[in-house]
Symmetry: C2
Subunit: 161 residues, 2 copies
DNA sequence: CCGACAATGCAACAAAGTTGCATCACAAAG
DNA sequence: CTTTGTGATGCAACTTTGTTGCATTGTCGG
């Protein structure tokens, strides 16, 4: 996820061939700043700290980012999909650590155990497109503070457009 | 998934300490018969071939099965969770192969590449509860028959309660 | 200024679950 | 036999997350 941390949102959009708009910059900025996979609702809350934004537009931007390879969509155990910025090196997959207590979804370093899993798919009588690896558990922060969820959702106003 | 295939629904419920009812037997029977992870909607359709059944009751039964360790809940790329019968040997995880075309979710043999991934979680500063491994791609049936989805959903009447 | 086209917004819809409460069935108590 | 309690089931309404269709805005080339 280095690229996401060291590259400006504008640069990332340009790299993916996506026209930069204030909203898109805000979305990419929010995702890059978080440093982990966020549900659409959290991204929306983050973006709305900077500017009003519409739910539908956000979903369309996320779809666009995914389609252009800038972001990836991952399923957590819950109902909401999480989105995280692609490491730049296109196609390089990475797993995630999902905290079932606070819902945070940390990106795991690339390669960790993934090559093996990918090889598994190769013997499968199926055209493999991608591999999802998710470790479910309780993160360190939540383990310490039994009781209140730690580092959970964004606190931005969830008020509607 | 051997246990699921060779054990009667009644026996499985007994083993998990769940009281057997006609509906629960039908649910377990449907899941065992499918031999793969099914979304709640498909299970409902299968059960309704035998008897009328309510959506809510099905969800409650599925929750119960998961809670008692008889079944496992897995997220596919889409919105619906899939449920499959636990191999009996409690906690033994297995991955899944998800076809993005027809939505079928085959259970992978245990152990295949999973031990390695589990080890990955061990170094994570987090209490690992479980590991989800999903291979997304296009299954053999769908690859052959480009066009119509193959082996997709159940054809039962999706009519309501 | 005008038309085209992309981006955004709004409202309504849709799918998958969830919740609260009514009802039913069956068993134990009286 | 009737009563009463408990768990299973059913029903309706609601929530969350995402999608679709259409209207509006904004920008660019002419």
């Amino acid at each position: 996820m280095d690229a996401a941390l060291h590259e400006s949102p504008a640069r990332m959009l340009a790299r993916a061939g996506i026209e930069a708009t204030p909203l898109r910059l805000a979305v990419v900025g929010a995702m890059a700043g978080a440093g982990r996979a966020l549900p659409a609702g959290d991204i929306l809350a983050l973006v709305r700290r900077l500017r009003p934004a519409n739910r539908v537009t956000l979903y369309r931007i996320l779809d666009l980012l995914v389609e252009k390879g800038l972001a990836r969509r991952h399923s957590a155990g819950d109902r909401a999909q999480r989105y995280c910025l692609e490491p730049g090196t296109a196609g390089a997959p990475h797993g995630h650590a999902y905290c079932v207590r606070c819902g945070a979804m940390q990106c795991l370093p690339q390669g960790a155990g993934l090559a093996d899993v990918a090889a598994l798919g190769a013997g499968l009588a199926m055209d493999v497109l991608s591999v999802e690896v998710r470790i479910d558990g309780v993160c360190a922060a939540c383990r310490e503070s039994k009781g209140r969820p730690a580092g959970a959702a964004v606190d931005g106003d969830p008020g509607n457009s």
